[in-house]
Symmetry: C2
Subunit: 207 residues, 2 copies
């Protein structure tokens, strides 16, 4: 791009900042920057300050590694939740997804990644020492492995199963099968095969 494209270096700098965000190209970045320019100055100032404040003040919960405003996150500090069950997930978006189902009342542990030799991510890069510590402290009866059903997710699940295998600890994994609302003929073979293999006793879905 030649220098004439932007009549202002300030605008160009802002466009470049937007364009480094994932999924945002230069055209979209320009649209976003011009949108902010069109608003009152307070809007853009608020925007910038909120981003800066988030990155300066946010921290990780010292127990589960979830993003939090406080030393211990809202979930870990909620005495109504079942502290004997820990759901192990890859990242905080997974926590949000599971929370949105309103089906789970235990605690979480965020790994911060997933074992992927291709990307050079090994067990050392995950928050496993923190999980070791939680299990050593006792009181945990079950860990639920809620990882993606990909090669990397399965590898990580297997690694965790090996690492934490212990007669006093139940290690479970989330159910895999045909999605609710899906027609059988459109389910892929592997999923359908597994859903037959791991069939469950019939019970009313109303519970």
């Amino acid at each position: 791009m030649n220098y004439m494209q932007y009549s202002s270096k300030l605008l160009e700098a802002a466009v470049d900042e937007f364009a480094r965000l994932p999924g945002i190209g230069h055209k979209t970045a320009l649209r976003l920057a011009l949108y902010l320019l069109k608003q009152d100055k307070e809007v853009a100032q608020g925007f910038g300050k909120t981003i800066i404040r988030m990155c300066e003040e946010i921290r990780r919960c010292k127990i589960c590694q979830n993003i939090s405003d406080t030393e211990v996150c809202m979930i870990c500090s909620d005495s109504l939740r079942d502290s004997s069950t820990i759901c192990v997930v890859e990242n905080i978006r997974d926590v949000m997804s599971i929370e949105n189902t309103h089906q789970y009342r235990g605690l979480y542990h965020i790994l911060g990644g997933i074992i992927s030799p291709m990307d050079g991510v090994g067990p050392k890069d995950l928050y496993l020492k923190e999980l070791d510590k939680r299990l050593e402290q006792g009181g945990v009866r079950e860990i639920i492995l809620a990882l993606s059903t990909t090669m990397e997710g399965d590898t990580t699940s297997y690694y965790l199963f090996k690492r934490y295998s212990n007669p006093d600890l139940i290690i479970s994994t989330i159910a895999r099968g045909v999605s609710v609302g899906d027609e059988l003929e459109y389910a892929d073979e592997v999923t359908l095969g597994r859903s037959i293999l791991y069939r469950t006793p019939f019970k009313s879905q109303a519970t």
Copy 2:
């Protein structure tokens, strides 16, 4: 959305800021905020500061109303450009588009909008007084109306033609016709009809 969806108010505030940008929904906003969180603090600080700086320091060129870092923009202050021709456009993105063609060496005038009774935008909302002033100062031989070929664009062009009609001033409009590279059978009827009506003398396109 319930309050549990975000484990951090700081994150939620940042997501809300991103989500007010045009074309960005809550899912994308969350992805962008988490991306910034993952980077070094300096990246997010730089991002925020660049946005704030742009909105605080940027101004409009006092001649053409283009966005500029200086009182007079780079185009208006370029003595190599033809100051007897003014290309009238709706916004600064149109300036960028025309500049990218490398076919125009005159000056610009940004209207800052387009006459649209439906949206309550009238001539008073455009930078027309500034254009009046430039024409009164003399030296301008031609104005080129480079507005969108929509109802609003045509209305604005007609209004400008009426306002500035004067035997000493050439008022032209950008050519409308079949796009270069288009096949005739796919051109719409109105465009094709006009392109026959306003046919031009044949000359080699190599010039």
